[in-house]
Subunit: 426 residues, 2 copies
């Protein structure tokens, strides 16, 4: 099936400077075939989409999520990470049923799609139900069973099963990673098993790293080394990695991180709300380390809107470095698209609009008061827009949301279900 | 004329904890007459508004703006304050015509209304045209001609004329303040003249204070004192003040500021984007100093959405103090409503929903994916919502925006005009 998009202002996110031009996009099934000022009128197409007054850009890539945590939105909040987990989250997590995981994940997926995210990278438990929700909503995702020091064998087996189904299947929108939870919750044997599993499955590792200063202190007292060294000494960086947070990394850590495949998932809102700290994104980027953006779970962040993460990432870098030119709006947009795709090892498939890539794109309505005038379109996207400006979303060549209405999905039903779960458990 | 609002979840912002209940609101012309669970059915009303699925709260109060700066959205940005003003802004400001001021201000007003702001506090030049735009859009505002060391007499005369028209007029939505620009741009004689004028007109003073460390350095080298001391020694705090920014205030400054009438306008996004610094809101509040929120001009902030300011204010306090409980969502909402009203000396009229106050309120649609579940409504308002969730806006008893459509105002025309101005000048 061929789809032609006309009259779009295309921000392709290719290259080091913004490239915005009125173009047409021809899509063959789920793949972008041609992007050009004018596409041969003789090509027969099955569907035409008129994108007048729309800016079309790659779908956003959310590099660190816990989709099933949506019921925790604003629940017993305003606490530091470990206090919050122990007081509010762990006691309830034990009671989550598979159906709860499904609906909670479903709600997070919808919130992401409605704010322009087309790919996410999730780690949690009960992932079979989360994958169901991802598939039912139409999102693209990297998915991992979160492994800690308990029930390791079961999680490893589940990861193997998942990988068998999804990895290597060219048409699958799901890709399976291995996940070790974090250096301070995984002993050396657990980390080693996870790394071996990632090698066996020819995939990557998703892990929290240096989210709080307390974690660094714990690792130091246990192993007399830093978290990054701990992982490095266990050969964790032999495989591609997604390192969530990366706030307390030293200069010597940076020397190690320079060589990793994958990158760091920066979660600025979660880091603020839990008072975790500010990741030195500018310094990491200067050292050639790839940084993507992530929301973390709704519990800590209270929003899945990547436009909010973009703004907050920019604000924090500008105010913490005291240098307003430290990061450009275009670089922030890169972090939310192509650099996020690189962090997930998917930059050959997504993150830019180019022939040969998957047709994952978002349509942003720009003829709005709060985006006028458009002296700098990238600036407006980062600082003036938010998820509500995303008018339509295409994933894998299919329109999933059109004029802010989800196609074939019942938003009210999801809200009813999640409210019921929250009422039962919280 | 009597208007009855039914089925609303009312967050009245009265008191120290959130009070949310299903209530009815009876409005007599522009004044709230009754708020109660059920209002006597025998009272004859002219209009009924069904606020089903809506949260109704006081309109937001934006305590520091430069409305006419909207054409500078994203223009030559990513610079520090003085570099940005000198390179990008001052050369263009000289060319702004009265009609430009009108349309630029008009756009800022619309952006505020569409994101839930019902009152603002503006200082700039060409204020006669800004007041026209404020009146034409229906906003409530405090307005001041910005006085620097040049053309003082003219600005003083204009302020007197304005005060004669608007102050003391019970039905006017405009209130006139005196504005001295800032300690570093106003010599002692200018400050003294402004303070005397405020006394003469029985009104307050709007002034920038300690926005950057450079300003403090300048004042120190000129007068061997801090900016706050400089103003205090010139008796500026004899009159009510709105102090914009207040980032570099010392403990001794705080002792002075404890006694002011009015308060500080905290502008977190502008302060981040210009790398100015982080205002220690928590400490100032602990010392009993009233803090409101402000957007500053679109030029530096790139948005007039007070929901974004609320989020950013919270993020910055949590991450800079390393204490997530440092400020509650309800306190952030207070800063955006009743505390903002106190900063402007208008808390007898606006800032809460109570009988006797002006009928300035916003209707927020809450049955949305990104606000589900509502474990904590205030939390959702601060961290999950944004201006696009404001469905309808009432100012002075009149619906100005309904279902996101401006009543009787042509948004497209405003955008056309501002685009033309930007094209001509930038």
């Amino acid at each position: 099936m061929k789809t032609l998009i006309t009259n779009a202002y295309v921000l392709d996110m290719v290259g080091d400077t913004a490239n915005i031009e009125k173009k047409e996009i021809l899509i063959n099934d789920n793949i972008i075939e041609i992007i050009d000022k004018e596409i041969d009128k003789n090509i027969e197409v099955d569907e035409k989409i008129n994108a007048k007054n729309m800016l079309v850009m790659p779908g956003l890539v959310n590099t660190h999520t816990h989709l099933a945590m949506s019921i925790f939105r604003g629940y017993k909040a305003d606490k530091k990470l470990m206090d919050w987990l122990e007081d509010a989250i762990f006691p309830v997590e034990d009671k989550l049923q598979p159906e709860d995981i499904y609906w909670n994940s479903y709600l997070s997926c919808l919130e992401m799609i409605k704010s322009g995210t087309t790919t996410c990278n999730d780690m949690y438990f009960g992932m079979n139900k989360t994958v169901e929700a991802i598939n039912d909503t139409g999102l693209r995702a990297v998915v991992a069973w979160c492994i800690k020091d308990d029930a390791i064998k079961d999680k490893i087996e589940k990861t193997r099963e998942f990988a068998k189904i999804y990895n290597g299947n060219k048409d699958s929108k799901i890709k399976i990673y291995v996940s070790a939870d974090a250096p301070h919750t995984c002993n050396p044997d657990t980390i080693k098993l996870c790394v071996e599993l990632a090698k066996e499955l020819n995939t990557g590792l998703h892990i929290h790293l240096s989210e709080t200063i307390d974690e660094e202190t714990k690792i130091k007292s246990r192993y007399s080394k830093r978290s990054t060294e701990y992982l490095n000494d266990l050969n964790a960086f032999d495989v591609p990695v997604v390192l969530a947070h990366g706030i307390y990394v030293s200069d010597s850590d940076i020397e190690i991180l320079k060589k990793i495949k994958g990158g760091i998932s920066h979660n600025p809102i979660s880091n603020c709300k839990l008072s975790s700290g500010i990741c030195d994104v500018a310094k990491l980027r200067e050292n050639g380390i790839t940084i993507g953006l992530g929301t973390d779970g709704i519990g800590s962040t209270t929003t899945m809107d990547m436009f909010e993460e973009m703004k907050t990432a920019a604000y924090l870098q500008k105010v913490s470095t005291k240098e307003p030119s430290v990061i450009s709006a275009y670089d922030i947009l890169k972090m939310a698209t192509i650099d996020g795709a690189k962090v997930l090892g998917m930059d050959d498939q997504i993150g830019t609009l180019e022939p040969g890539k998957k047709a994952d794109m978002i349509f942003i309505k720009t003829d709005k008061i709060h985006m006028c005038p458009a002296n700098d379109v990238c600036y407006n996207l980062v600082y003036s827009s938010n998820g509500a400006d995303v008018e339509s979303v295409m994933i894998d060549g299919k329109i999933i949301m059109q004029n802010r209405k989800m196609i074939n999905l019942d938003e009210k039903q999801v809200m009813r279900q999640v409210k019921k779960i929250a009422k039962r458990l919280l």
